[in-house]
Subunit: 331 residues, 2 copies
Amino acid sequence: MSVIKAALLGFGTVGEGVYTAIHSHQQQLNELLGVRVEIVAVLIRDKNKKRDIESNILVTTDFEEILNIRDLDVVFEAIVGEEPGYTYLKQAIDKGIHVITANKVMFAKYGQELIHKAKQRNVKLAFEATTAGGVPIIRTIQRLLQVNRITKVQGILNGTSNFILTKMRENKLSFEAALHLAQQKGYAEADPTNDISGKDAFCKLMILSQLVFGEQPCWSEVKIEGITSISQQQIEEKEHQGQRYKHIAEIYKEGKLIKASVKPIIVDSNHPLYWIEGVENAIALEASLVGNITLQGPGAGKMPTASAMIEDFAEIVQHQQLQEKIPALQM
Amino acid sequence: MSVIKAALLGFGTVGEGVYTAIHSHQQQLNELLGVRVEIVAVLIRDKNKKRDIESNILVTTDFEEILNIRDLDVVFEAIVGEEPGYTYLKQAIDKGIHVITANKVMFAKYGQELIHKAKQRNVKLAFEATTAGGVPIIRTIQRLLQVNRITKVQGILNGTSNFILTKMRENKLSFEAALHLAQQKGYAEADPTNDISGKDAFCKLMILSQLVFGEQPCWSEVKIEGITSISQQQIEEKEHQGQRYKHIAEIYKEGKLIKASVKPIIVDSNHPLYWIEGVENAIALEASLVGNITLQGPGAGKMPTASAMIEDFAEIVQHQQLQEKIPALQM
């Protein structure tokens, strides 16, 4: 059985999730792809931290060492922030290594350039995990709605914000108390700025815009408003009218112009995102043939995000096999 | 530009939808696939009925005439019932013609045999439109969740039943009045038996079972209960307790045994299908890595069902092109 060699860049929550998933689903991968998947290296930042990684795997802080691995097929990138992720992925692509990324901040900014580079180099670049965690929105748009013209996307793309708004309504909590609860439950970082300011949702929206419309709006012209200005009292008032505040990232086209915004929107029960509660993410699409469809699921978390990366991985391997005329892809 | 020749089997609501969609999305198809799609023939039942079909297209009641078309690439089957759909598709596959079907009754029974036949003959057989209309549940399972082990599927798979239950609750209608409203709106047939008895949902559930578990349970052992036994009073009582009746088709495995049922289930607001209202369909999946995801959208209707068939079509053409090493499939 042939072997696929993979390296993990980053061993935080998501990187560890990929590590676990590849081990727990090795049989599934064998049967599906007819290959054995081997994690040969893990890139880490802190050499002193104790990690549960098998001893035959290269654990290094030096990306060069990973680039120099012979016949490395694919890297799973789960680093946070623009750098060093961007530089590493450029280098990997240059070396002909397939790339699977979960790094939304980096990808919102450099995605298009990396996609272009990957095409030139004939390697695959997959990014399902950058947007809405385990909800397979990227590949639904890429693969399942290719003929449909998508005219509008609305999403709850930040689980932390949605959790806070849900708890403010359900439990009549103040913003601060709801945020504290989110932190206690591990849904919000110690510094929750990116989540509650709308910046996190904005990155994901830009990735969706690139995918759906082939371009992004000018970033400085996109209204980004977080959830901090909403009071519990406002939420309660709206609830009495059968309405809810939802923090919605939205894109659509007006003529040739992409209109994008990230902000709280008051919706009633006819709206597909009214019902999305807690840390869930959901995306409602408007498309020319199918009409409206909504996808809902876990927007973050160790295994859902790992799931997105592993499924990307399976597709890449299948695509390679088909190109090499190995008859492993069957309908 | 090369031409793909297609025939439509059936020109009812769905067949006409495919016809319309291919015309309205010809440019999209050109750009995506680099081909021109030509409907060369339409199989009809009643020669005397007036139809809006271009005069250069063969319109016939004789399937032999369609089989004899030179270089026919694909048939879209939108006939109702086991026969003659089954026989036609067998013959088409034997002739090396790709098949896209929307025929759930036929496919629930003969799907596995046809899939097997298609593999042997190296043609593609696609059936997204058989289950949940425009909701891309089949290809989500086939393509996007290949590594995940799906452990449970719950679906609202019949829009008519869901519409009736919704209206009985929302508008405090009797079953009969809600059914009458569904008929007035064109959501229910003159004879609604298959919808309200659960038989329609059962067919779709069997298709999902085959897809997810590779087999179907013994049909006679599946409990199938429709919605006719539920009274408006029962619905109202449950509503006061924050609960709803939903007509849910469900499969999961208990050891090696597939457990399947189609029946009204009382759910509360924590259940992902509690929120699915009106004619919408939705499917909630439980999977080993991603956890729970839910897909929601139009379960029937002219353009949503046509959408499913056209998207199947695009995938088939792309797959062929990749096999023929035409570099049209890009990530």
